[in-house]
């Protein structure tokens, strides 16, 4: 208790709170600009944190990231440009709601779920960090391979049109993920001697291109006068949220749990958590047909999951110095710089500092409730701009974002090429969400498959040789077989009834 009070005083210091406030504004700004990710925001903070004490330094990072992940929802909902990759899973859903005049509801749900998710993640972090880390460290490439397979199964669930077209879209995404130097053999593939392509198709420009540029193209190409965006006022974003929250309380709890668990696993972060939560939401929903048409249910799941995943990623980072995602990879560096070397000993040597970090998570997420509200109010101006003025501005932001991720014009090329590809796909009824998922998971799937095969000397049974891997593997296979079995039963019944 004494340590807890010490930690509380460390956070409630006016200087620390001031730093957190500035970090919050910075995070909201960076998150709302497409192409600037939470990871980049953290990297940009490092020079500033160097001159701070450990607690304000870490609190600044915690706050920035929490704000950035939520702020990514704003351009996603209003303009169909996810501000950060973590918003990509439900970007279409939120945009469909905006087109129906429900931007207020979409953003309000996103905000409140982000806060709940963030607080849930913080609770998990502060209560179960050591034991969860113990679980996460048992994962080797076999387990990650099955996890990636499970993630890919989501593609079939989230695709809004026919399953076959969703599958084709997924394969396109997986193909794009194979471009560049193959991590396993170090051999360049499909790069035609181009040095830039050796690095592969960067995910951020790909995402911006497939969502935003295709939307701009559709506007340009449509011959009839487009329907004006329904008049809407974003007044009190919290109005009408009560019923939504109570109806989807199970979804929110489940999203938080999925986010925390996926976040704890090294190498799978907030963006993958959001995809999985969204797919689980649709699969278990009573109204799966409404998904993709602007249905708030998936938002509740995925919006909670991505913020919950943030705190989860800190678990292996603090306990073992193994980064849970790219943000905590940077955090580990800061921890070392501040003399809080990660490892179990940090709980013994500097308990008040670690508890201060946990408290910072709670404070940051509560501040998000207020600051996020202000950010939504300010962003509504975007909807008042006529489309013919807005569209070129969107394109400009896309170009800036695609350039900024690697500071290379090549990013802009990738964005434009994939934008055209996504436009052609959507015009022909192919959903793009599975393709994006393929790009996200393709590398992880392939790398873990090949590593596992090397480890098992080419023996497929290796995938079932470890307890967790075997459990996951059997589960994945059952998930895959269920549609086949139900199809066969239907055929069988049909055959019986006609006979």
């Amino acid at each position: 208790m004494d340590i807890f009070l010490q930690a509380l005083f460390l956070i409630l210091d006016p200087y620390v709170l001031g730093v957190m406030f500035l970090a919050a504004l910075f995070g909201l700004f960076v998150g709302a600009i497409p192409g600037l990710t939470a990871t980049m925001a953290t990297a940009l903070l490092i020079p500033f944190t160097f001159f701070m004490d450990p607690v304000p330094a870490i609190a600044a990072i915690v706050t920035t990231v929490a704000m950035a992940i939520f702020a990514g929802d704003i351009p996603g909902a209003l303009l169909r440009i996810p501000g950060t990759p973590a918003s990509a899973a439900y970007c279409d859903e939120a945009f469909a709601m905006t087109q129906r005049g429900e931007a207020e509801k979409a953003l309000g749900t996103g905000l409140v779920c982000a806060v709940i998710g963030g607080v849930m993640g913080a609770i998990v972090l502060s209560v179960a960090a050591p034991s969860l880390a113990e679980f996460a460290i048992q994962f080797s490439s076999f387990e990650y391979f099955w996890l990636a397979c499970l993630g890919l199964s989501c593609a079939v669930v989230i695709s809004t049109s026919s399953t076959v077209k969703g599958f084709v879209s997924l394969l396109i995404g997986l193909f794009i993920a194979t471009i560049g130097i193959d991590v396993t053999a170090g051999y360049p593939r499909f790069n035609f001697g181009n040095v830039e392509l050796m690095a592969g198709v960067s995910f951020i420009p790909a995402m911006i291109g497939m969502f935003a540029v295709s939307e701009v193209l559709r506007y340009v190409a449509s011959t009839h006068t487009p329907l004006p965006m329904p008049q809407q006022k974003i007044g009190n974003v919290f109005r009408g949220l009560g019923p939504i929250l109570s109806r989807y309380k199970v979804n929110i709890a489940r999203g938080g749990a999925i986010g925390a668990i996926v976040g704890v696993l090294p190498g799978a972060g907030a963006d993958i958590a959001a995809w999985i939560a969204y797919a689980v939401s649709k699969k278990t929903s009573k109204q799966p047909e409404k998904f993709g048409t602007g249905h708030v249910e998936g938002l509740a799941d995925a919006g909670t999951a991505n913020n919950a995943g943030l705190a989860g990623a800190w678990v292996p980072a603090i306990v073992f110095g193994i980064p849970g995602d790219s943000i905590t990879a940077i955090v580990i560096g800061v921890l070392y710089m501040k003399g809080m070397n990660p490892g179990p000993t940090v709980f013994m040597n500097n308990p008040q500092l670690i508890y201060a970090v946990f408290i910072a998570f709670f404070v940051a997420n509560l501040a998000l409730l207020f600051l996020g509200f202000v950010a939504i109010r300010m962003s509504r101006q975007m909807l008042r701009i006529p489309r013919k003025i807005l569209m070129p501005i969107i394109l400009m932001f896309c170009i800036v974002g695609a350039f900024a991720i690697n500071n290379t014009v090549f990013g802009v090329t990738i964005m434009l090429v994939l934008g055209v590809l996504a436009y052609i796909m959507e015009e022909n009824g192919f959903p793009i969400a599975p393709a994006i998922l393929g790009i996200v998971l393709g590398g992880m799937l392939e790398h873990n498959f090949v590593s596992s095969m090397i480890k098992a000397d080419g023996d497929f049974l290796g995938f079932f040789s470890r307890p967790i891997a075997a459990t996951l593997g059997v589960f994945v296979i059952i998930v895959w077989l269920i549609p086949l079995i139900s199809l066969m039963r239907r055929r069988l019944r049909a055959a019986v009834s006609t006979a």
């Binding site: 048992q138 490439s141 076999f142 050796m198 690095a199 790219s326 070392y336 090949v450 480890k455």
Partner: protein
């Protein structure tokens, strides 16, 4: 006094005017922000040290130094970006040991000779890490086990043909075993390799000791040896490979700051002087020692010689280990 002040100021103005006349286009370097390219991802050791240097160079040169991660392609992309940028001192970068490896592997034509060397600042020898519950207590135990069952025990720690792969393959080669007697499981870096080690996926990781420090401290990993001539200051308990097994094989990663080839001499002199100050600064030394990064300093021709020596020995080792094309 007042009079003197005036004349001094006048003289200063006259000098400034003269400077403007004699070199109208060549104002004092640097007059605008500098970009520092880091060829590896945010969060790794190269990124951490690069950002630290960028920060301190900024104070030294009086212009913002923007650190940019140009990742991918096993380091080819970032190293190419540094080498092919304009040699005006406004784009510099961190070059790493891989510059002497990538061309042997047939990934690029680039070598250390394509840069203007500024300063070498870091040097981290490879280690030999096993799980805490591993039956191997010494490096010799490990070698004996690999010899008894070639192909059975797997190693990891970086991508295929990366520096730590070479560390393990080269050691086995030196011990008279096949370089692939402990097959390599490529990982996306030391962190994911260590995750594989602790989860039981592989048996040995040959990354640097500093990269394994957290798990070492947590008691999940044991370091059997360090592949250097002397033990490390920050980890005096880890014996050298030579001491343990008699093998004289050493292997290490290094990092240095370099600019594109053809950098004007005055710019090079200014950058080198700034880097020397940065290296010797209290902040940099505290940071490097705090994390356990190895310190070394070589500038100009010494750094160039370091790169070509490194290139040569890496090439020989890669050929012996079958990693060269």
């Amino acid at each position: 006094m007042k009079h003197l002040g005036f004349s001094a100021r006048f003289a200063g103005m006259a000098l400034a005017a003269l400077a403007l006349i004699t070199s109208p286009s060549h104002a004092e370097y640097p007059e605008r922000p500098i970009t520092l390219i880091v060829p590896w991802g945010a969060g790794g050791g190269t990124d951490a040290t690069g950002r630290m240097i960028g920060n301190l160079l900024q104070a030294e040169l009086g212009q913002p130094v923007n650190v940019v991660n140009r990742t991918g392609g096993s380091g080819v992309v970032g190293h190419s970006a540094i080498a092919t940028s304009k040699p005006d001192g406004y784009t510099i970068g961190v070059v790493t040991v891989e510059i002497g490896m990538m061309h042997w592997a047939g990934l690029t034509e680039l070598t250390g000779a394509d840069y203007t060397p500024i300063a070498l600042y870091n040097f981290d020898p490879a280690g030999l890490h096993v799980r805490a519950d591993s039956p191997w207590k010494t490096a010799q135990d490990l070698l004996d086990a690999v010899k008894a069952n070639p192909g059975e025990h797997k190693g990891s720690g970086t991508g295929q043909g990366g520096i730590w792969h070479l560390a393990l393959a080269g050691m086995l080669n030196d011990a008279g075993l096949a370089a692939n007697a402990a097959p390599w499981v490529p990982s996306q870096g030391a962190a994911s390799g260590l995750q594989e080690l602790v989860s039981g996926g592989v048996d040995v990781v040959s990354c640097s000791v500093v990269e394994a420090a957290a798990l070492l401290e947590a008691g999940r990993v044991r370091s059997l040896a360090v592949m250097a001539d002397e033990t490390l200051g920050a980890f005096p308990d880890i014996p050298t490979l030579k001491n343990e097994t008699g093998l004289s094989w050493t292997n290490s990663a290094w990092r240095g700051v370099a600019a594109p080839k053809g950098l004007p001499d005055d710019v090079k002199a200014k950058l080198t002087a700034a880097m020397e100050k940065v290296y010797n600064s209290q902040e940099f030394q505290t940071f490097m020692n705090g994390r356990g990064f190895g310190l070394i300093y070589k500038s100009g021709d010494d750094f160039a010689k370091w790169m070509s020596d490194s290139d040569e020995s890496l090439g020989a080792a890669m050929k012996a280990a079958g990693l060269a094309k």
